[in-house]
């Protein structure tokens, strides 16, 4: 088997708001480890998952470690495919400028098409 065939397309789907539950934070930890394995990783932000990327989060008052800035580190791990669902963004009254990282804002049909190409999809 060639090396190329060993590379799997793995999409992580962030669908929950941060802080209210641990799913997004532990999902991010999973992504950071997987990034070291040189797979074809992508992260899609759908629904409340988008809130994880919101600028100006200050968690000092709730006593939980913030992690929005960790998303900025993904680039350094070669995780560059960050997709945001346009409708989810608009419904929440947000724009790309409200987010801590550069993302590709896409229609659901386009993200769905990419999802369909994956070997593994993990919703967090």
């Amino acid at each position: 088997m060639s090396e190329e065939q060993d590379i799997k397309k793995i999409m992580h789907v962030m669908r929950r708001a941060p802080h209210g539950s641990i799913y997004t934070y532990e999902g991010l930890e999973m992504i950071l480890i997987m990034a070291a394995y040189e797979q074809d990783l992508s992260v899609a932000f759908i629904g409340d998952g988008i809130y994880a990327l919101k600028k100006d989060q200050d968690t000092a008052g709730i006593g939980i470690k913030g992690f929005s800035k960790t998303f900025m580190a993904l680039d350094g791990y070669d995780v560059e495919k960050l997709y945001v669902d346009r409708q989810s963004l608009e419904e929440r009254g947000l724009t790309e400028d409200d987010l801590v990282v550069d993302v590709e804002v896409m229609d659901a049909s386009e993200i769905g098409r990419l999802m369909n190409e994956q070997d593994v999809v993990i919703h967090h």
């Binding site: 669902d85 409708q87 659901a108 049909s109 999802m115 369909n116 994956q118 593994v120 999809v121 919703h123």
Partner: protein, 98 residues
């Protein structure tokens, strides 16, 4: 890609969200509390029919329907047992919408 949904559509928008991302031909399987979506006569009947019309097969896990006392299900929805679930997974990669 097989899409599984495990949330009641009355409490959670997982089903309506998933539908926006479905590609033609992708099957949808309702499991756990997700099976409440396919009960005949509920307000999600029209959405189920629109999914079926786009050539997306819709399944519900029979043991989960039975456990919840659901016997009348929306027209066109097929039921599978766990073995049928395995067969669907053999045919498709999986996206579990938690």
């Amino acid at each position: 890609m097989l899409h599984t949904i495990n949330k009641s559509p009355f409490e959670n928008n997982t089903f309506t969200t998933c539908v926006r991302f479905l590609q033609p031909g992708d099957p949808v399987l309702f499991i756990e509390d997700g099976v409440y979506a396919v009960q005949a006569g509920n307000r999600f009947g029209a959405l189920i029919q629109s999914v079926l019309k786009k050539n997306n097969p819709v399944y519900a896990l029979k043991p989960d329907l039975d456990a919840r006392g659901i016997s009348a299900i929306a027209e066109g929805v097929k039921t599978v047992d766990y073995a049928g679930f395995v067969d669907l997974v053999e045919e498709h990669q999986v996206s579990s919408w938690l």
